[in-house]
Symmetry: C2
Subunit: 577 residues, 2 copies
């Protein structure tokens, strides 16, 4: 097992220099308090989370007599995580939480995710489920379900997928029949349910999509239900079996420590659940959770990439070949520079997006909601995709050792891959981005974002960033013409052609946004460089390098991606396949 | 386990329409004979090799009391492979082989590799070792080592890597001390030795790099030795233990069925070996094997990508979401078109390169040796890199099922990855390509290749391929200016900057070559289309589509890769990391 690595300087730079979260007054804390939380959380990650990463991957999960057993080492970790209050970080005080700026919470949670992504899915999904109940739950749920979820006695899941209904959620067959007691009898099979069952929790609160008798076909007829693994008595105590059975756990490429379950509802007896949110509003209620889960996929890519990059950085400084350390070889150094620019770029957009949530409350400006909508598929798809690629590059930098299990690098490759698939495949994200977040929105949000970028590039220092300014200027013009091209197709109802370009355009937009956020960092670093020395100076210079390397190796490809979209636009449906 | 898929039509098109291997008279066979061999080989792959792929991955290899046990299912497979004469395919008649055109042999071996890459490494490495002995071995070796290697009783390996000597082979510490009997006592530790030990063979013939007492430091002082696992008596019978111990087997991301061994020579007693080739000529003798192994890495990427693509193609035609098969969704169809263009493009360059070996003998023209030199790093690096990416895209097309083990798709991702690392990492390939195959060569081979491409593009039909012709023309011009830029750096002794561009330039050149080979196919397909109908017509149209899609999605990026090299060329050694 390699030594844990962290780049706290870069996280702090994002928090305090770029996003300036210390501006937020409502938390009653200042920069030093936030730094203290970050450092404490990081200690926990280093000492408790990271050491569990490889053993829990090796041990995996087991299904024994219908019960799921997780790796032994996860039990004390889970206990300590809840007891130390880390699960409560970021929740409001009324449910026992410690409210902090969203970007700080995200930075902390990213550290834990990077250090053991598969384990972090248990509390991660509980958190997402808890948020739905907090916003849409009944008084009974708030009184009797939220407290044990906050304490860590109970967990939570989201149950959407069925054998015939993956991306196409509306095709689901699970049913919910009203009972005399106001509850519903839930029946059906759900697959690929993360944390669907485990011995980490005494009870599991499943949020289940199902169709009531009056529910129309497709997504419009779907409602959401709160379905406990064990019944909950009127006084909140745990009651009898609610007939939710784990019939199978999946064997997967990675996230071996996470139990991916096939769950049977109402097969061995009646399974009771409560409606949450309005009937037929299941999709929109579920989307509270889904959007959180999508951003979390982005964090899974970003966080593991950052750790994989740092481990590679450490390795190439120690390993010598041809009489010098690997880092002294230009080809290797180029690769490391690329990995750092990409990893920090992903961090920058994830933390920027987190901060938008605070901006919504701070300003009441709907603009920020539009930006969150745009940034969600960008973070989800780009960070999962590129996080995977960084992990692959880290493996490559480790050579044969990277392919072997002992450094734990190949595990990043295996673990990150799932993030491009679940919570809506990256293809679905691209379609969401173009069809809903841009075309259906009438281009409002993307225009606002573009205007910010244009202004930003305009004020970029010519002397230091001449080539980058030229390139970014070209990319912005190309963005406009590409967007017009796509809108033109939509106006002519050529939606097949629009749809075939979504993945390319999402990549184009993502790279523009990453470059923009790295540019903002580089500008600030440039300003601060004047009075800096030693490590601080080196760090600030590295931020300028990140932006330049990202432009030279990633943003530059936007020019050819735009060509693919606008110049090679034959309808793929007409091509022989 | 999914149903085995194969694209025999495309292999035959490459063999008989593009490369025209039926021109070669020396094998005494015609097109129908070759087709028969291909079909028989393919049946064997379908019925015997493919079914072993997933079980042998699951079972892996075990080290029990110093003996390596492979998966049970590999024993009958291995036996049948040798007994049916498939190992002997492509060898000359004097050692009991069945000589065939190199491209046909490559096509066959590619099918077996795609269907179980990890197993195929056992006979694959034996073949490479056998070739060295055939070319450089003593009469004793030819009489007593080659026959049992051809029959499958004995296997072979190549032993280069040591803990401190990976890419830097010259740093190795293994020693060879002359003995009174003319042999050498070999001592040292070798790591990452594929097929280093197994119960598939009764004896293993290790080709070991070591330093004799007079050997200088670095690669110049290295010699190559033939070191049997068990001693060989003067009459060729197997003698006593030669003290080659497997001290460890590696736990790896993939190729679980292949035993990756740490081998100890001369630790438990004397290990005897014979010098093969001249003293101090170990590197060049080993390179006979190494070049074969490098091309084989390309085949590992190409073959598995082609199978992974076909399985995805099959899946998206069966799986329906949103009321229609996945293949009817433009985003998915785009991905499949990209995968096919890339997979078939890789096949085209691997088979083209194989045919160059026959061209060398056919014409005696040294030009073809230069082309083989150029194509070796292209096939090795590009096909391993892009083969991996196609496998990743196949996984993605399978959604959640692709991430689970039951379809066997994630195994492609895990298995292909090693090909970017072993036999010289892709970074080493890129340096070899630019520094040796282009600069040291004075640009001879690359100029000859470019001239062919220029002529080829010149005669491309304007009406059908206007956009592609324009693009390829631009890329060729850009190739020239980029090459001049790199030569200019070399002339100014700015080798650090040259070295940082090698990976990008190798990708640039690879994509040009793939596009060229797909273009040649498209031209032929266009000609044949006139009289075609039904499936034949569909296939020929698909070849035109392959070229167009490759241009639109891959070749187009050459324009931005060239920008990265020529416009963003800051010396990475001066950048803060």
């Amino acid at each position: 097992m390699p030594k844990y690595q962290v780049d706290l300087k870069d996280i702090q730079f994002n928090l305090f220099d770029v996003l300036k979260v210390q501006r937020l007054q409502q938390f009653g804390m200042g920069e030093n308090d936030y730094k203290g939380i970050l450092e404490e959380y990081n200690k926990f990650v280093e000492n408790e989370v990271f050491p569990s990463r490889e053993p829990s991957d090796m041990e995996g999960v087991k299904l024994v007599n219908g019960k799921v057993k997780v790796a032994e080492c996860l039990h004390p970790l889970q206990k300590a995580f809840y007891e130390n209050g880390w699960f409560a970080l970021g929740f409001s005080e009324d449910i026992g939480g410690t409210p902090v700026p969203e970007a700080l919470y995200t930075a902390c949670m990213s550290l834990a995710t990077g250090a053991n992504c598969a384990w972090m899915m248990y509390p991660g999904l509980s958190r997402a489920a808890l948020n739905v109940i907090r916003l849409k739950g009944s008084d009974f749920m708030k009184a009797h379900i939220i407290p044990p979820m906050v304490s860590g006695a109970w967990g939570g899941t989201m149950c959407l997928t069925e054998p015939g209904a993956g991306s196409d959620v509306g095709a689901l067959k699970s049913t919910a029949k009203p009972l005399a007691n106001g509850k519903y009898a839930i029946k059906g099979t759900k697959i690929f349910i993360s944390s669907g069952e485990s011995d980490l929790y005494q009870n599991n609160i499943h949020l289940v999509l199902a169709r009531t008798p009056a529910g129309a076909e497709g997504t419009k007829g779907i409602s959401l239900f709160v379905v406990p693994r064990f019944k909950i008595n009127d006084d909140g105590s745990v009651g009898g079996d609610n007939n939710v059975q784990c019939s199978k756990i999946e064997h997967k490429m990675g996230i071996h420590a996470s139990a991916t379950c096939e769950l049977q509802f109402g097969q061995t007896g009646e399974t009771e659940g409560w409606l949450i949110g309005d009937e037929f509003e299941g999709m929109s209620t579920m989307f509270i959770m889904m959007n959180e889960a999508r951003l979390y996929c982005g964090i899974q890519g970003e966080s593991q990439a950052n750790l994989a990059y740092l481990l590679a950085d450490n390795y190439v400084r120690e390993r010598a070949q041809f009489g010098k350390e690997l880092i002294q070889h230009p080809d290797i150094r180029r690769n490391l520079l690329r990995m750092r620019a990409m990893s920090r770029g992903m961090r920058a957009i994830c933390m920027y997006t987190a901060d938008l949530f605070d901006k919504v409350h701070e300003t009441g400006d709907h603009k920020y909601e539009g930006l969150i909508g745009l940034m969600t598929p960008i973070c989800k798809a780009y960070c999962s995709e590129q996080g995977f690629q960084v992990a692959v590059e880290s493996l490559q930098a480790h050579g044969g050792y990277g392919y072997c299990t002992e450094y734990g690098i190949e595990q990043f490759v295996r673990d990150i891959k799932i993030a491009t698939i679940y919570e809506g495949t990256n293809g679905i994200q691209a379609i969401d981005f173009v069809m809903r977040k841009i075309l259906k929105d009438g281009g409002k949000a993307i225009s606002a974002l573009s205007a910010e970028m244009v202004a930003s590039v305009g004020s970029l220092n010519e002397a230091t960033f001449k080539k980058e300014k030229d390139l970014f200027g070209k990319v912005l013009m190309s963005a406009q013409s590409t967007m017009q091209f796509i809108s033109g197709l939509a106006q002519k109802n050529q939606f097949n052609i629009v749809l075939q370009h979504c993945t390319d355009f999402l990549q184009f937009a993502s790279q523009m946004v990453v470059a923009w956020r790295l540019m903002e960092s580089a500008k600030i670093a440039k300003q601060k460089l004047a009075g800096a020395s030693g490590e601080e100076k080196e760090y600030l210079e590295s931020k300028i390098v990140d932006f330049k390397v990202y432009c030279a190796h990633y943003l530059v490809h936007n020019l050819s991606i735009a060509k693919t979209i606008t110049e090679f636009s034959d309808d793929v449906m007409a091509l022989e396949l």
